[in-house]
Symmetry: C2
DNA sequence: TTGTTGGTTTGCCATATGGTAAAGTATAGC
DNA sequence: GCTATACTTTACCATATGGCAAACCAACAA
């Protein structure tokens, strides 16, 4: 699935920025409107909104507008998607490392 | 630690590209020289070397040059560093989700 | 020593990213 | 209705990214 790749692209790209990671950290603690989310950061709203948009298209957050305030929520399963990919890679690595250890074990006397 | 943030930046950024993720996948299977790594991709060596450089400065791979061939190795613990950050975030989320469930449980009759 | 191979460097280009300022829109409160 | 609030849009800018072509260098191989 080529689409999976694009999803991982945008997902990891969204995570590759301290502002965006901070927003995620903040939202883990509960939903919040744009203005409150933006407060801690030394940048204008337009710049901040771009970050939110990156986060939203990556699926890491979603948002709803009620009246004039837009509230943002986290989408925790996207986090686990990224975690999943990493875990898979590590599994491959560990599989190989284990086989390698077994090979060494089988062909060398134990060093103890 | 502000440096941790920069490390995560480069780490996630390195992962946010299908070529680079493919290289990682390939290297999990064992070390390989630059040329062999580059073969599957439809781009010139200079472009590919940039990807390798991104991977190397992120710490995800390392490389050694012997004679005229540079061999690349994976650095699996960097993968777990990224995994770690994600796991931490998920833990916060789950903690909150659990508390929320407990709250709902305590204030509402079970729906069964 | 003369190629050829494997990698590197240099210069260039198009596009994407991350930020600004300033003007615009729509709702909430008085 | 008037005004402040909470975004939103537009236009613009500097830098980073991802790619190319072409020249270059070092080390095997013949």
């Amino acid at each position: 699935m080529a689409n999976q790749q694009a999803a991982l692209d945008t997902l990891f790209h969204a995570l590759a920025d301290p502002t965006r990671r901070a927003v995620i950290g903040r939202l883990l603690d509960g939903a919040a409107p744009v203005k409150r989310l933006a407060e801690p950061f030394a940048m204008g709203l337009p710049a901040f909104l771009k970050h939110l948009s990156v986060l939203e298209t990556s699926g890491l957050i979603r948002s709803e507008k009620a009246g004039r305030v837009r509230t943002c929520y986290i989408n925790a399963d996207r986090l686990t998607a990224a975690e999943h990919w990493l875990a898979e890679q590590r599994a491959v690595w560990q599989g190989r490392a284990d086989r390698l250890a077994a090979f060494v074990e089988a062909h060398n006397p134990p060093t103890t």
